[in-house]
Each structure stands twice: as C-alpha cells, then as structure tokens.
C-alpha cells in the first residue's frame, strides 16, 4: 500500500458542516471515499491509501482538477483505493459531491 | 475408536458406555457426581448430512431423556476434518443440517444442560462450527489440530507467499493453524497437558456455573484478540 496526503487551496463549500458519507466500495478497480467536515474553509484535504504504486503524480493531477471544478473548501476526502482508474476516481468524487447533506 | 476408548478410560475411571456407529460417538460417562452424556465424532470424520442428523438426534435424545429439573451435562468430542465436500451434500443443503444441529445444541443449553467440548484429533472449520464450537467450554487435548485452512492452501488462495505467512504467523495468532493460537484468541478455554488428571479437570468443567459467551473478552485478556470484545461493546453502546 502507498499513502499520501494533499492539502489543496479550495473555494469554501456552502453546505458546511456535512454529514459523513461513504461512497463506493473497495474492490478490484474500485475505491471508497469518505467525505467529512475537516480542514479550514479555504482548504481541502485528501488522504489516499492505494494499492497501485507509483501514481502519486496522477492522483495529484486528478485531485487538483476536482478542486478546480468544485467548491470543496472545509471538506476532507479519505480514499481507500484498490486500483481504480482515474476515470473511476473522478466519477466517485462527483457522486460523493452530489450527495453532500447537512448533518 | 480404539484411541477414543483409551481416552474415555482416562476421562471416566468410574465407567463409561460409548458406542460408535459410522464415526458418531454416543453414550455416557460416569463422573463422581453422576452420569453425563457423551456425543461426538471420531476418526477425523468429514461431517455429512447423515452424521449431522445422528448428532442432532443424539442431542435431542439427551434433552428428552434427562430427569426433569436436573439436566445432565453433555460432553462433545470433536474430531472432524470439516464438512463433507460433495455436490450431493450441497444440493441437499448440508448447511441447513448444520444449522439444525446448532439449534439443537442451543435447545439443550436453554434447558440447562451444561456443554463442554474436548478436541481430540482435528477440529476444522465447518464441521467444528456446527456443534463443538458452540459449547460453554472448549478444551484442546494434546496434539489437537485446530484450523480453518493450512498455510499452503491459504497462500495459494490469498496469493500471499507462504514464507511471508509463516513469518507473520510467528507474531500473530490470527490466521495460522494451532490450538495455541485459538487459546490466545479465547476460542479455546483450556489446553490439558498429558501429565494432568483429566478426569478431575473434566469434572471441574462439566459442573462449572453456566456463563454467557465470553470468548471475545478472554481473547482480549490473553492478548490474542484485541478488538472483538471492545468493538461489539462499542456497537452495543453507540448513540
């Protein structure tokens, strides 16, 4: 397993604080993402644990694009990845965003 | 069966009458406090529906026979290589036969029968789950082999190297075969040494006060299973 953490500047999320919510499952080629209220409102935190080694740059690129697309400041995304492709990662993050709810 | 007779001589110096039909043991043993029921399997039985039915009938008979008000303890002898593997047994629904056996064992417990299991030989996953592992107290005799799967088969299925599993098994009791590992995890209450007085030890177990399933706590105390008890409690008490 490889793990890393990124704290990226982000526009504040309007729905803060959010109810913790889990999306996706850990199975081959898939991942789960847990969305919680976390860092300051101008920061977004990603904690990634992945079974695919050597992809930190790809992860960073995927997550930077995601932060550009959405106002996710104040949120933390914890990810357990079992070899999902970037396409699946983006899709799960989009699905998680769609479901953000107040606690 | 010859080995089992020697075992019963040692467990019940006061006498015993255990018969063996098709790898199923049924009968009685005499303790200083009276007779107890003996039910079990021998010769590393692969438990199929027929054996499971004989065991469950033996349990039901033990419950039906007992003098009302003072149910006799039941001693289970576990010696099983696991469930029988065949297409027929699956089609027939062997898991349902095992579940019925488990319900009969619980029925006996609910009627006040104290339940003790001795592992003499092998105790492997499915066959062990159905009755032996459901007792109030579980004891491993010397040489008992307790396991789900040996490490080579596990390495093949999990695709983790055998060497790595062997190395990890030295520090963790969580996956490797062995009565010691099960003892550390609280799954076996006691292991008897060859030089001990088994008849006396058995009596202590057979007439102990009944208790709830405390194996997870035992595992925590013994340091082999640290999360099972606390997590169940956490779920129980969660807001």
């Amino acid at each position: 397993m490889e793990s890393f953490q990124y704290d990226l500047p982000a526009r504040p999320c309007v729905a803060l604080p959010v109810r913790a919510e889990l999306w996706g499952v850990v199975s081959s080629g898939n991942l789960e993402v847990l969305v919680e209220t976390g860092p300051p409102p101008d920061q977004c935190r990603f904690q990634v644990e992945t079974s695919a080694h050597g992809f930190s740059e790809v992860w960073q690129a995927v997550l930077e694009d995601f932060v550009t697309r959405h106002a996710v400041g104040g949120l933390s995304f914890s990810i357990h990845d079992a070899g999902a492709t970037p396409a699946v990662v983006s899709l799960r993050l989009e699905q998680a965003m769609q479901s953000l709810k107040a606690p | 069966m010859e080995g089992k007779r020697t075992l019963f001589d040692r467990l019940f110096p006061g006498g015993h009458g255990v018969s063996c039909v098709g790898q199923v043991l049924r009968g009685w043993g005499a303790t200083t406090r009276g007779r107890v029921h003996v039910i079990g399997t021998t010769d590393h039985a692969a438990i199929d529906a027929r054996i499971a039915l004989m065991l469950s009938q033996a349990v039901l008979d033990a419950v039906a026979q007992g003098p009302a008000g003072s149910p006799l303890p039941i001693l289970f002898i576990a010696d099983t290589q696991g469930q029988a593997l065949s297409r027929h047994e699956e089609a027939l629904g062997l898991n349902g036969y095992f579940a019925h056996l488990a319900r009969c064992v619980q029925g006996a417990r609910e009627r006040g029968h104290h339940l003790v299991t001795l592992i003499d030989g092998e105790a492997v996953s499915g066959g062990f789950l159905a009755f032996g592992l459901l007792a109030d107290a579980i004891v491993a005799l010397p040489g008992a082999e307790v396991r789900v799967m040996d490490l080579r088969a596990m390495a093949r299925i999990t695709r983790i190297s055998h060497d790595r599993l062997v190395a990890l098994a030295r520090t963790s009791p969580v996956f490797a075969p062995g009565a010691d590992n099960y003892w550390r995890m609280g799954g076996i209450h006691a292991q008897w040494r060859p030089d001990q007085d088994w008849a006396a030890l058995l009596e202590q177990q057979l007439y102990a006060a009944p208790a709830d399933d405390a194996r997870a706590d035992l595992g925590a105390v013994r340091g082999g299973r640290l999360l099972a008890a606390s997590l169940a409690r956490q779920v129980c008490d969660a807001p």
């Binding site: 397993m1 913790a20 996706g24 499952v25 850990v26 898939n30 789960e32 847990l34 644990e49 357990h80 | 529906a49 039915l53 009938q57 419950v63 039906a64 469930q83 593997l85 065949s86 297409r87 027929h88 699956e90 089609a91 027939l92 629904g93 062997l94 898991n95 349902g96 036969y97 095992f98 579940a99 019925h100 488990a102 319900r103 009969c104 619980q106 029925g107 609910e110 996953s125 789950l129 159905a130 592992l133 459901l134 789900v148 999990t158 990890l168 969580v174 996956f175 099960y182 609280g186 799954g187 399933d213 194996r215 997870a216 299973r225 999360l227 099972a228 997590l231 169940a232 779920v235 129980c236």
Partner: protein, 296 residues
C-alpha cells in the same frame, strides 16, 4: 420495453441495500465509517482496508416498525468475516436483545471466513451464531436476505439457515462449501465450478425455494426484497420455537429429505420428480412460484 424496472438487489452495494430496504431516511448507523474501525490484520498484510470493514450495522424502520439491520458488502473481500466485521455483527445482535426491535434484518452476502484472519473469523462466526440464537431466544425473529453476488457460504451459510425466514432471489446462492472448493479438492467431475447453470441448479434460489429452505423467492429487485420484508412482519412476527417437539419435527423433516433425496446432485432432478417441467430453470420467478404453489 424500456428500462428494466427497479434497482437490482444483486448489483446494489450494502449501503444502497440498506437505504432501499428501510423507510426513507430512517437509518441510523452504529460505528459507521467515520469511526474508522478497519481491520489491522488486512493492513498487516499490506492489503486495502475498508472504513466499515465490509459491513453496515444500525437501526431503521420498515413501515414504521423498528428493525435492526446488518448488511454485508459482498464486493469487499467477498463479504468475508474477519475480527472487526464479525464483532460489529455480534454487537448489533447483542444490542437487539436489549432494545427488542420488531426483527433483525440480516443481509448476508459472504463466502464465510476471511482467510487473512481465519481464526478470528471462525470464532467471530461462532459468536455470531450464539448471539443470533440468543436474539431468537428473546422471541425476536431474524430474517435473512440472500441475493448478493457472494451468496451465503461457509459459516455464513449456516448462519443463514439459523434464521427464522430466508428471502432469496433466483440469483442468490446458499450453501456450505463453494463449488470452487469442491472442484479443487474432489475434482472437476464432482463439481464443475465453471458450469454456472449447474452451480445455480445446485445452490441457487430456485432449488433452495423448492426444498423449503428459502421462505420466499423474489425477483432480483431491491423493491421486491423490501416488499418481502413488509409481508414477513405478518407471516413471521416471532422467532421459531425451540421446543423439543419443534426441533424433533425439523429433525424428522430433514431425515425424510435426506432419505428421499439420497442421490440428489442437480436441482433439475428434483424439478423433474415434482413435475415442474424441463424448463424449471428457465421460468421467471413469478411463474416458478406459481407452479410450485400449484404442485404443493
């Protein structure tokens, strides 16, 4: 012809099943993913963990009646039971004895013991069995739902049959030893695990329903499983009795079955004998149920 009606139970995740089975917004989870109760044993082997260790437990409502719900995630390690996974289930069952819900709904989707923590898994299943028997002892029924991709095998196959009612879809499977295990040990002539139609004729919902092991056979739709729960409130409101007579009656039934089906190796033989027809394996669920009822 447009869309297939309704969401598939088989394809749904454990969380989607929970949401689809319970009244809207009625679910409250115990020790949810934010608690990060993950498996230290998988981590020690360098394998991916899951925030809920592959099982969701909590309480919710079915038509306003409070139920305890347990849902295994078949896609995570085949729904296999490890220490944490098992402890969560056991805790939920113990809590049910204390809180006395209308029923415990147990969505089983598991191959049995998680080999990476095999000893802990075996003990956990034993503890689940005892805790489940205690729930029933308190009069509370436990309803098993079997329709996931892993079915209910190994120790969880035994657990499923301990339950007071079993709701299955045709796609669900219920057994003890998986076909792959039997093929590996006994040879491909004994059980060809790649012959999927055979696998389902031996372990699938239709043969289980025919033998009476599945209480109801429903379509593979989340809504159909939900509807089955609603009707179980009326048909199975309390745990099955464990009186000596009741246990002996089951003993006699199982004995009769073992004698009658002494050479059963394929569900088709059963259907042929019952006069269900050569196309029993092809019938849709409604038709199959209707034919079974006509023959009963």
């Amino acid at each position: 012809m447009n869309r297939i009606p309704g969401k598939s139970y088989r394809e749904a995740t454990a969380r989607q099943r929970v949401a689809g089975l319970l009244d809207a917004d009625s679910f409250a989870e115990w020790v949810g993913p934010a608690a990060r109760a993950t498996s230290p044993h998988l981590a020690a082997l360098g394998l991916p963990c899951s925030f809920d260790d592959g099982v969701v437990v909590g309480q919710g409502r079915v038509e306003e009646a409070v139920v305890t719900i347990i849902a295994q995630e078949g896609q995570f390690n085949g729904g296999a039971v490890g220490e944490v996974h098992g402890a969560k289930i056991r805790g939920a069952l113990q809590r049910a004895v204390r809180e006395r819900p209308t029923a415990v709904v147990f969505c089983i989707d598991s191959g049995g013991v998680r080999l990476h923590e095999a000893n802990a898994g075996l003990l956990a299943i034993s503890e689940i069995m005892r805790a489940l028997l205690a729930v029933q002892g308190a009069g509370i029924p436990v309803w098993a739902l079997v329709g996931g991709s892993c079915g209910a095998f190994g120790g969880m196959g035994i657990v499923a049959r301990l339950c007071d009612a079993v709701v299955m879809s045709e796609e669900g499977r219920l057994g003890l030893s998986g076909p792959e295990v039997i093929e590996t040990v006994m040879g491909v002539e004994e059980f060809d695990a790649r012959d999927r139609a055979l696998v389902w004729r031996v372990t699938g919902g239709k043969i289980r329903r025919t033998l009476g092991e599945a209480t109801v056979l429903v379509e593979d739709r989340l809504s159909a499983f939900r509807a089955a729960l609603e009707s179980l409130r009326h048909s199975c409101p309390v745990a099955l009795p464990r009186t000596l007579d009741a246990l002996q009656a089951v003993q006699d039934q199982l004995t009769a079955r073992a004698t009658r089906e002494s050479d059963l190796r394929d569900g088709q033989a059963l259907w042929d004998r019952l006069g269900l027809g050569a196309d029993a394996a092809w019938m849709d669920t409604a038709q199959f149920n209707r034919r079974l009822q006509e023959l009963a």
